[in-house]
């Protein structure tokens, strides 16, 4: 078998990881992706997720050829990923699946959901996919045009429309818009057209300055710094979110806020949510590796 390629990959990744990745590359083989090229890109440090593409998906969506996309499984979905948009992480997949299980909206009272910094669209799209049709209308905002384009491609790929079609069948919907949620007038400028929300989700940039400088090359050389850097303290976006939540017209009674946080930020963010005075209960969910990963606040 491809001993030379395996040796190259092993040097970069260690033998166990190399064997797995070579197997996945083999599965993704296709006229436009040769094993040699994939290994060369990987050895140069590019994340595997950007490499393992599915040209058939590109064709399906009639994307221009230079928009080469990779893929990342996310729950039962297989999402497109493209640099520089942040690759969905397994920690995010884990808490979104748990959120989907812990809360079941019904078609009689569909919920409205806001996702701040939607990136690939992974969070709202997975919820739209898992919850019954006609139970959720989701809206994602992002500042990056690359992210917005990718989120729309993914919505098309997952068959989640942006508005209710002509059919009478119930459907979940997902819309996107460009906005800066750090801006003071974000609520009035960007959300004036929307009803209040029942759920706010966000995996905002949370890496503080000191840790940002130490990120591995596969992250820092390929993923958008604006998707990662959370200000000097790493908490800048959580302050913006707590200001937003304190706005009297943003949440419906009984709303839930779910925020992903960095490895050591859970208590700080929990305190921020608590201090808004909007919530009855807050809790912290662990990720599969035992890190405090998600702050959940309920009204």
């Amino acid at each position: 078998m491809h001993t030379r390629l395996l040796a190259l990959l092993s040097d970069a990744l260690g033998p166990a990881q190399a064997a797995n990745e070579l197997r996945w590359m083999n599965r993704a083989l296709d006229s436009r992706l040769s094993l040699n090229d994939m290994v060369a890109r990987r050895v140069r440090g590019e994340p595997l997720q950007y490499i393992l593409g599915t040209p058939s998906l590109q064709i399906l969506l009639s994307l221009p050829a230079h928009y080469t996309s990779g893929t990342q499984p996310f729950g039962p979905l297989n999402l497109l990923v493209r640099p520089p948009v942040l690759i969905p992480r397994p920690e995010t997949e884990h808490w979104v699946l748990r959120l989907a299980d812990s809360f079941l909206p019904t078609a009689t009272v569909p919920v409205s959901l806001l996702d701040l910094g939607t990136g690939s669209g992974c969070i709202p799209l997975l919820l739209c996919h898992l919850w019954p049709p006609g139970t959720v209308n989701a809206h994602g905002v992002d500042i990056s045009p690359h992210a917005l384009r990718l989120a729309q491609d993914n919505a098309e790929l997952c068959g989640i429309p942006s508005r209710l079609g002509l059919t009478k069948n119930p459907q979940n919907t997902f819309t996107t818009s460009s906005a800066n949620f750090l801006a003071k007038d974000f609520k009035d400028a960007a959300l004036s057209a929307y009803p209040r929300f029942d759920i706010i989700t966000s995996n905002p940039p949370y890496i503080p300055w000191k840790e940002f400088l130490e990120l591995p090359p596969s992250v820092i050389d390929f993923e958008d710094p604006r998707a990662l850097f959370g200000g000097p303290s790493g908490l800048e976006f959580y302050h913006a979110i707590s200001r937003l939540i304190s706005h009297k017209d943003i949440l419906n009674p009984g709303a839930i806020v779910a925020l992903e946080v960095g490895h050591d930020q859970a208590s700080a963010v929990q305190a921020l949510m608590h201090d808004t005075g909007c919530f009855l209960r807050t809790e912290i969910w662990l990720d599969p590796w035992g890190k405090q990963r998600t702050v959940i606040a309920r009204m």
Partner: protein, 340 residues
């Protein structure tokens, strides 16, 4: 008061009722035929020709009972008829030669599946450096896959000169196979088999800070079923979610297998001649290259043309023969039980 044994015995009697009835019909028809045969020598020619006609019709009835009634009575006894199968292969003695033979066997079963129109997919596989496979788990989806493959469980032995052996000396190596039942994958698992409280789920490697800090794929998971100590590790898929689903699938199969084996043991107390299917350390078959033969030790069947077996056609004959042998022993035991 009826004891659990009584209940089992009653259930078994009830299950064998249609078989008993068919046996009675068979016996009566046969007696009738013997009596009619006497009339073939009757002095009256009309009588003789009537007797001949009746014999023809009776022997048709008999062969119908043999060809259709009896076999059809055996089939419904299989409660596992609709199940798909998981096939686990593990290389045993013989090192790299065993791994090479394992990949030959894997190909053999995939061809067999192809012939039978089962959908096969490899759930997990560990390749070795020399082009062999250390172990693998393959799923065969399709009705009857489990019933057909279940008698493949056991130790398979190969005797051949390894491609790598320069002295031309024949080596003996083994591959161990376990075939497990595979239920339809449903969203919620079978409550009877396990409860989520009994499951320990671990993720394999540490990810440092994790989250946005890391974009390396770490998808390996391990499940432990605490009451039985069964563990399942999965790392073949790119996402944890997928690996977890597969791990649960394999765990469900192992637990279902335990359940089926237990039920078989319970019934076995009254049946004697069963193919010993549950003993998986038993050597069941030898593939001998020098003599171009395959021998199944349980039924003493030897077939020439080893290539045809490995191509998937010949293996079908073994599978048919072993499962026929099993069906026959079940029937024999039942009938013996009835007479005593």
């Amino acid at each position: 008061m009826s004891s659990p044994e009584d209940i089992a015995r009653l259930r078994q009697l009830k299950e064998s009722e249609p078989l008993g009835n068919a046996w009675i019909t068979w016996e009566q028809t046969r007696k009738q035929m013997e009596e009619t045969a006497l009339l073939l020598d009757d002095p009256d020619p009309t009588m003789r020709s009537m007797a001949a006609d009746e014999i023809t019709s009776l022997s048709n009835t008999l062969s119908d009972i043999i060809q259709n009634t009896f076999p059809s009575l055996l089939v419904p006894q299989s409660t596992t008829k609709q199940l798909s199968a998981l096939l686990e292969l593990k290389s045993g003695v013989g090192g790299s030669e065993s791994s090479l033979f394992l990949s030959d066997m894997l190909r053999m079963y995939q061809r067999l599946a192809n012939n039978a129109s089962w959908k096969s997919s490899v759930l997990a596989k560990n390749d070795t450096e020399g082009g062999g496979i250390k172990d693998a788990i393959v799923e065969f989806k399709g009705e009857g896959a489990y019933d057909a493959l279940r008698w493949e469980s056991g130790v398979h032995r190969v005797q051949r000169v390894p491609a790598t052996e320069s002295s031309g000396r024949t080596h003996t190596s083994t591959v161990a196979i376990v075939v497990l039942p595979l239920a339809e994958e449903t969203e919620s698992h079978d409550e009877e088999l396990f409860s989520m409280d009994d499951i320990k789920l671990e993720v394999m490697r540490s990810r440092g800070a994790g989250g946005q800090h890391v974009n390396k794929t770490e998808s390996a998971v391990r499940l432990t079923h605490i009451p039985t100590g069964i563990t399942v590790s999965m790392q073949d898929e790119r996402s944890q979610h997928q690996n977890r689903r597969r791990a649960f699938q394999v765990l469900t199969s192992r637990l279902m297998d335990l359940k089926i084996t237990r039920e078989m043991e319970e019934r076995r107390s009254t049946r004697r001649n069963l193919v010993r299917g549950a003993d998986r350390s038993e050597k069941i078959r030898t593939y001998n290259y020098a003599q171009d033969r395959v021998t199944d030790h349980r039924i003493g069947l030897t077939m020439k043309n080893l290539t045809s077996v490995l191509e998937g056609d010949g293996i079908q004959l073994f599978i048919d023969a072993v499962s026929k042998h099993h069906d026959e022993s079940v029937m024999l035991d039942l009938l013996e039980d009835k007479e005593t």
